[in-house]
């Protein structure tokens, strides 16, 4: 069923939400709105993406009407980065837990996991001074293509019941707004502390990371002052993880 925008509008009166039946990618639509000067927190969503964007040209599997695919234009200022990327993960985690009651872990910097499988992903593009945050949440998928089955899950699979995309959208926008305000008012250190509490990946986790053409293996050792992940490699070397691609070591 198409998303019932009236319900969202009645809960969030005045919020700039642009909803589409089908777009190539909500990131492209949001980029155009950002270039035209749309306000902070403008949200673009679609029931279906024909070319959902993942990291490094990967596609985001965007089954029609099963997921929540949105992009939000954030005008939070340069000083907020890169803690903003961690804040986005916190907002998604809060929104999912609040809406359907399943426990969500965060994999640095901002993948949301249910029982070790990815249920939501965040990707952001910088356009001048605006950050466009793309959020994809697997909501009511009953199954995934074989190549994603090991890695992905949905809120319906995890919670055992269908989840309202409208209530989830409302929660995501409210939590985003709240966490961006917290970042502005309390500063990045507070966001980093919250993230460290909310994620099992920040310290003491054995992981494998691809970086700089190498496969790095080791144990996570906290965040640096900016929010980058420290890795204590098995060789004893300490390396800062800059981008992403952190995976637990060995079989699940």
């Amino acid at each position: 069923m198409a998303l019932q925008l009236d319900l969202v509008r009645s809960e969030l009166p005045g919020w700039p939400v642009h909803w589409h039946e089908r777009v190539d990618s909500t990131m492209n639509v949001a980029a155009k709105l950002a270039a035209a000067g749309c306000p902070h927190m403008t949200a673009v969503g679609a029931d279906e993406q024909t070319a959902g964007i993942g990291r490094h040209g990967h596609r985001w599997h965007s089954e029609p009407e099963a997921g929540l695919y949105i992009s939000v234009v954030l005008r939070a200022g340069d000083a907020s980065q890169p803690a903003l990327m961690l804040a986005l993960g916190l907002a998604v985690q809060q929104a999912i837990e609040r809406t359907c009651g399943v426990a969500v872990d965060l994999r640095w910097p901002n993948d949301a996991l249910c029982s070790g499988r990815k249920c939501a992903g965040v990707l952001a593009h910088l356009h001048d001074t605006a950050v466009i945050a793309g959020i994809g949440i697997n909501v009511n998928h009953g199954d995934f293509p074989p190549e994603l089955r090991e890695e992905a899950t949905s809120l319906r699979i995890s919670s055992g019941r269908a989840v309202s995309r409208e209530l989830l959208l409302i929660a995501v926008l409210e939590e985003l707004d709240a966490v961006v305000r917290r970042l502005a008012e309390d500063g990045p250190a507070e966001i980093l502390r919250s993230f460290a509490r909310a994620s099992s990946y920040v310290s003491g986790k054995r992981v494998v990371v691809m970086q700089d053409g190498e496969t790095l293996r080791g144990v996570t050792a906290g965040l640096d002052a900016k929010g980058f992940l420290k890795l204590r490699e098995d060789s004893g070397r300490e390396t800062l993880i800059l981008a992403g691609g952190v995976r637990p070591e060995g079989p699940r």
């Binding site: 961690l86 901002n110 952001a124 992403g244």
Partner: protein
């Protein structure tokens, strides 16, 4: 700087036609210069002559083994592009350098390409925030100074461009 990186630099340098290039990474720097003779050979059109390394390469130890006296000139800011007419494009953030929109696809730009203001040159990724770096001037891309997939520091030189 590894030998692989130096080889890659030399390859880019060879393709670029630039006369002199200096790259600083941490406390190490490397300056590569074509000898006048080599430039003379390069001038005529036709198959590119192969140059031998000793002609072109002149490593510059940034931190000589005996510590320099206090009054020695400080090599602080990265040296400007050796060719006065080229501009350096620098990274605005700490992150990972990507030369292409996705693995396996062709790079946004390569040495010798014309570039226009606003044209995307590369992506720097920082915690899944993708920052497309654009050219600010019209010109010719002289060299890419960073290898694909490498971490870059704030302010690190990514490309040199000769404005037109």
């Amino acid at each position: 700087m590894t030998i692989e990186e130096i080889k890659e630099l030399l390859r880019v340098f060879n393709e670029s036609g630039v006369a002199e290039l200096e790259v600083t990474r941490g406390d190490k720097s490397l300056r590569v210069r074509r000898s006048p003779a080599a430039q003379d050979i390069l001038a005529p059109a036709g198959p590119a002559p192969v140059m031998t390394l000793p002609q072109m390469m002149m490593p510059v130890p940034a931190a000589p083994a005996p510590p320099p006296p206090a009054e020695a000139p400080v090599r602080s800011a990265p040296a400007p592009a050796a060719d006065d007419k080229t501009l350096l494009v620098k990274s605005p953030i700490v992150g990972t350098f990507y030369e292409a929109p996705s693995p396996g696809s062709p790079p946004f730009v390569k040495a010798g390409d014309p570039v226009e203001p606003g044209q995307v040159l590369c992506i720097i990724e920082s915690m899944k925030l993708m920052n497309e770096i654009e050219a600010e001037v019209a010109g010719t891309l002289v060299a890419r100074l960073v290898e694909n997939g490498r971490p870059v520091e704030y302010g690190e030189a990514l490309f040199s461009i000769r404005p037109r």
